[in-house]
Symmetry: C2
Subunit: 432 residues, 2 copies
């Protein structure tokens, strides 16, 4: 049934060839002022006017204007120090309704038939986790109905409705997820779909262009690589939206709202004509602390107790490594800067509780995690060796290492992070 | 079915006696800041705590905070000079959702179980006239569901949803109408219901307390009197909400959000123990112009043409009177100040079109309409005479008169309006 609806929707009027559905998403900085909203409207109109023959339907998902969401949260806190999550979602959901209505007005002003829709009106069903809900379903037949009279349906991002009719929000970056979910639903109904994410960032780069002169913008990147980059600190796309795109095979395109510059496609596999490079990008996660806990009794019970105690204290640990010497273990890990004190207290209490004597902890050392990411690593050998030698040649000490199929991460002194990224960009030819 | 639901809802848990439903409404100035919202929450809690035994359920309808609606309209105009009405409603409806969510938070913070609901969630169905929609139905079973877990349901005023799922707004003063409509629905389902309208005005006065020293606040006023006062310029309650209250017999209570002072009940008939006064209040409509059109050919065709032409030009005319001399008519009427020029042009064009010669028009004279309103007039005689002589004794010229069962209006020079009101307040003992 849904397939029929979508197939009909995506066919040209003569019924011969399918016309793709474009889902665009504009972030908060892209719709921060009335002028910017008018600019976005002009871009949407241009996309409609210059699209493939027969192409005349678009979905546009919007975030709240600029810092609206932060402003609403501050307002809530003036009324109640800990506002209930259900009411906070009710409040926050207004932000996207404002920008959606304004964008529809701006489009109508340009002669584009457009209509705005909120989560109720689009049947965006989510789980009940207020503030961090997950989309369960979207009723595309409502979109189909709107497309009978409108070229553009402007949809509020970031929000949904539970089966009980309560408003929810999807968490930070949630509007990306809204856009990808709509595209995913269309893809799974058999429609050719492209999801374009516009922000103030012009695409995905091999390294941070603000830190590495000559960092190159990528034409293509795979979902896997993008997921590694997103989790490692690159801020172009929200991780959940990339996961969803990968799951349903939605092609993503990230570009700037404010330029005509070509952006980056996020795809399953790089096009065959593209010579795959071993490393696609280098990213860095700063503000970490490295700890070494020494001489832990070696049967594993105390180690387990330490992990449990840290989890209970709400500390996320990363880059875990253990070594042992006779029946004593040595534990190395990193945490975020702000958690350092909690870590020391928690470990001390844990050792005391378990009657451990003679243990020690090295005070935290500020480090950064520098990661080289690339689908090509899978097939290539010697990448770890190249990372090591590039850094050691310049006397950068490697204080830890972890690897996955498509990622090598090393810990370096916090102060050396930028230099390390530059060296790896050089080594793997990531510059223009 | 609905009756069953409401009857159950309004019974005490032991099933014996009905407990009344209280619907409170707080206007924009009452919820203008986080502090004022907290103040309203405290009032609601107090009302719950000090109510009749078994009384523990309330509906609270809210307007948007302060000047939010005006701000949103200005924002829309920055995007589009003439924003489409459908999108404007989508935009404006966010204002009440913000205040409803914040009030629910403030109530929860005081330990009151409260939940906010918007028009979708309350099933407030309206006609499709965007910007001026009329409520068609409200689904009280949704309220019943909420009352199973909450003492207070905070509902967005001013808005509704069409059968197609589009958001609408009810026009200026619409939140009053939302509150009365909910109360009316409960009344028609057999529940004992009171609708309390809170604003920055402490009730209904015999005359404007800012103009007439000693103007008295009324304990009771009838729907009929209130309708006359509302249409004549008193701004305590929106006319549509009073009409609705009269139609369904909803008892209204108007009082100030910011004091504990007793307000005014709006009821079908004054309580029997209350000695009815002949005149309940005096009100004034300022900024009017009186015109006299002379020597109009008397067969009525030209008169009709003048009325039609003025209506087409968007001019509202009031206090119409005609006299005739032989076969020539004289037409007197009033319009709002701003329409004076349009009136002259329209009448000139109309006379030319109809080939009327020898006619004339007196240029507009600034007047005010002073009205004495009172259910008691119906039975009393000589009220018109008392109005006339009170004004003439002080040499105030009466430039026109119109009467209904419960209202006598006279036109006086604009500059004499305040004096006229004072004289009538004196004559009919409307002062403290």
């Amino acid at each position: 049934m849904k397939e029929t609806v979508m197939t009909v929707m995506m066919k040209r009027q003569n019924g011969s060839a399918a016309v793709p559905l474009i889902v665009q998403k504009y972030g908060g900085s892209s719709v921060a002022t009335p002028e910017k909203i008018k600019h976005v409207a002009a871009r949407v109109k241009k996309r409609l006017d210059t699209g493939a023959p027969g192409f005349n339907k678009m979905v546009v998902v919007v975030s709240a204007m600029g810092k609206t969401t932060d402003g609403l949260i501050a307002l809530a806190k003036e009324v109640s120090p800990e506002p209930p999550a259900r009411e906070l979602d009710m409040l926050l959901a207004t932000g996207e309704q404002v920008s959606a209505a304004l964008l529809a007005m701006a489009l109508r002003d340009l002669g584009v038939t457009a209509v705005s829709r909120n989560a109720f009106q689009m049947g965006i069903e989510t789980t009940r986790e207020h503030g961090n809900a997950r989309i369960q379903d979207i009723d595309l037949s409502l979109l189909q109905r709107d497309f009978q009279s409108s070229s553009v349906v402007v949809i509020t991002g970031f929000q949904g409705v539970t089966p009980d009719g309560d408003l929810t929000t999807l968490g930070r970056g949630g509007s990306d997820t809204s856009a990808v979910a709509i595209a995913a639903k269309a893809v799974s109904a058999g429609a050719e779909t492209l999801c374009e994410i516009y922000s103030d960032v012009p695409g995905v780069f091999t390294c941070d262009p603000n830190k590495v002169p000559g960092a190159r913008k990528l034409d293509h990147i795979t979902y896997e690589e993008m997921l590694e980059l997103a989790s490692l600190g690159a801020k172009v796309l929200h991780m959940r939206s990339v996961e969803l795109a990968r799951k349903y095979g939605v092609i993503l395109y990230c570009a700037s709202t404010f330029s005509e510059e070509r952006g980056t496609y996020v795809v399953k596999e790089l096009p065959e004509w593209l010579e795959g490079s071993v490393v696609t990008g280098v990213t860095v996660a700063r503000g970490q602390m490295k700890f070494v806990v020494k001489r832990i009794p070696g049967d594993g019970d105390v180690l387990t107790a330490i992990f449990q105690a840290l989890a209970l204290a709400g500390v996320n640990i990363d880059m875990i490594a253990t070594t042992s010497d006779d029946d004593l273990s040595f534990l190395t890990f990193t945490v975020l800067d702000g958690d350092a004190e909690t870590v020391l207290e928690t470990i001390r209490a844990c050792m005391e509780e378990n009657g451990v004597k003679n243990w020690a902890v090295e005070p935290g050392v500020p480090v950064a995690k520098v990661s080289a990411v690339g689908d090509g690593m899978n097939a290539a050998t010697g990448v770890a060796g190249r990372v090591f030698s590039a850094l050691r040649r310049h006397s950068i000490e490697i204080r830890g290492i972890s690897t996955s199929d498509i990622n090598i991460s090393v810990l370096v002194d916090g102060a050396k992070a930028d230099e390390a990224v530059s060296l790896l960009a050089e080594e793997f030819e990531l510059r223009r």
